[in-house]
Symmetry: C2
Subunit: 299 residues, 2 copies
């Protein structure tokens, strides 16, 4: 089955202590869509400006990502620029030019409204809800977020949470949302806000799922070198949703393995700037790392 | 088979934001010995003063810990006092009274010199080496350490490393030792210093083994509440060595499972002040948590 992915589509200029790379294809929806495309057909919903490079359209298409929902509007594409510190964990934003993203209203083509799997990648929670308003009984809805929305749009986020099957956030966001240091207590509190499945991402330490079948401790693939972690979280949730959409039967039977697949796609994402490494990845390479993770965690 | 455990035996006065508890049984060897005792016979080597409470001698004995190597000397027992911050990760030392520990020289009773499994729990690396000088061809030698020795006794530590089968340290110590942010690169560098097995502890994120069969990502047991993490690392390595000593056949067949057992004993350690929770634990409870960890990591 197919996945509908809504989120930001952007140009990212990224600096690390080793190198920098300007105007890469980025944005939560771009990373998630490419990640999901390894497993199932993807319908992308987003907005770009007239300056959006044709080669990035071709890149989406080379991953068989349906672009009927990608609006091309007069003006400039969302441009984000950020710099990482040596440990690759802390980053600071150097520049944010919203461009056409400032007035983005995701409008779903009729064919997209029946999508069974919906990933609301990181954008304003009011827009994420607006997408759900247009959907006809999706099978499984997951959303990601970022600290910004916890700071400036908490009521919108709380309204969204009541409508989700799965909510994905990172450890510091979970702490901010619940005032809980302990990740397992934070998971418990987030369930009470609505979602049946809650996933807390812990970067190089992997992620933790809390769902109807209890916890799952999902490993991260061991990386000797992180080139650029931008989009790793989006790749994780995109890969997970793509894998789920490709799996027959109930979500609870597949969600652990789906997370492991997402984790592996995120590992490739970290090995290059922007989407440079992810887009060169093959399904075979992904399967190989999943088998490695099986070996690395078996006892 | 039995494990010989050498390290500090102390009285710990511990403060957390919730509570405080004075003059608990503590020290690296105490935690490691109790942890190991769930799996195999333990011979403890350490020193205490004349003020050492009789009830702590009884406590060791209730875990069938052989005390032939425990020196009782005129003077005071090593007393450490520390305070944890709210997140339980950062602690500061309030007081260190070395007492009889200041002049401690571990001397092994003849029967101990043939111990097959040796755990050099955290003490000065020169003393850890002094113990090895007295051993007759042990089967497997593991050592733990702390940041203090990296700061003041690096040449001694490097000399020790060349004599070890396994070296266990935490993530910040590994970074200090190797100047490597990346844990997998740090593991590689530490192998070059001697040990065949290197284990990096990552607190609530578990631990990572690097050995002849590659990496193993060892999970931590999910804890909703950490009462006092003092001794968790010692419990981990103690439990691991006890389990190894109880297992027939080559170490490489058992070390992963041994780490998981150590991880579970450490989880009990964190649930009470000092050794209060660990000493009330049963083998059945440990086995139960190991089975839970199997379920929590399976995909």
């Amino acid at each position: 089955m197919s996945v509908l992915i809504v989120g930001s589509t952007a140009l990212d200029s990224i600096k690390t202590p080793q190198a920098e790379s300007p105007r890469l294809l980025g944005g939560s929806a771009s990373h998630a869509a490419v990640a999901a495309s390894f497993f199932s057909p993807v319908n992308l919903v987003g907005v770009v400006g007239e300056d959006f490079p044709k080669r990035y359209i071709r890149l989406y298409k080379s991953h068989r990502i349906n672009l009927d929902g990608l609006q091309i509007q007069p003006g400039k594409t969302f441009h984000w620029s950020g710099e990482y510190e040596a440990n690759m964990n802390n980053r600071r934003t150097l520049l944010t030019e919203l461009g056409v993203f400032e007035t983005f209203t995701p409008t779903l083509p009729a064919a997209h409204q029946k999508a069974p799997y919906v990933l609301l990648a990181n954008i304003a929670p009011s827009l994420q809800s607006h997408v759900l308003d247009q959907m006809r009984r999706p099978k499984f809805v997951a959303a990601d977020t970022m600290d910004l929305w916890l700071n400036i749009a908490m009521p919108d986020l709380l309204a969204l949470l009541r409508r989700l099957d799965a909510f994905v956030l990172n450890d510091s966001e979970a702490q901010q949302l619940t005032k809980e240091d302990n990740v397992f207590n934070a998971l418990k509190k987030i369930h009470k806000l609505g979602p049946k499945y809650v996933i807390i991402k812990e970067g190089s330490h992997g992620s933790i799922l809390s769902g109807p079948q209890g916890f799952f401790i999902c490993p991260a693939y061991p990386l000797h070198k992180v080139v650029d972690p931008t989009g790793a979280g989006d790749s994780f949730v995109g890969g997970m949703m793509g894998y789920l959409a490709a799996s027959k039967g109930p979500v609870e039977h597949h969600i652990r393995r789906a997370m492991v697949y997402g984790s592996v796609v995120a590992s490739f994402c970290c090995e290059g700037f922007g989407l440079l490494r992810t887009t060169r990845t093959t399904r075979q390479q992904i399967d190989h790392r999943v088998r490695e993770l099986e070996r690395l965690t078996k006892f």
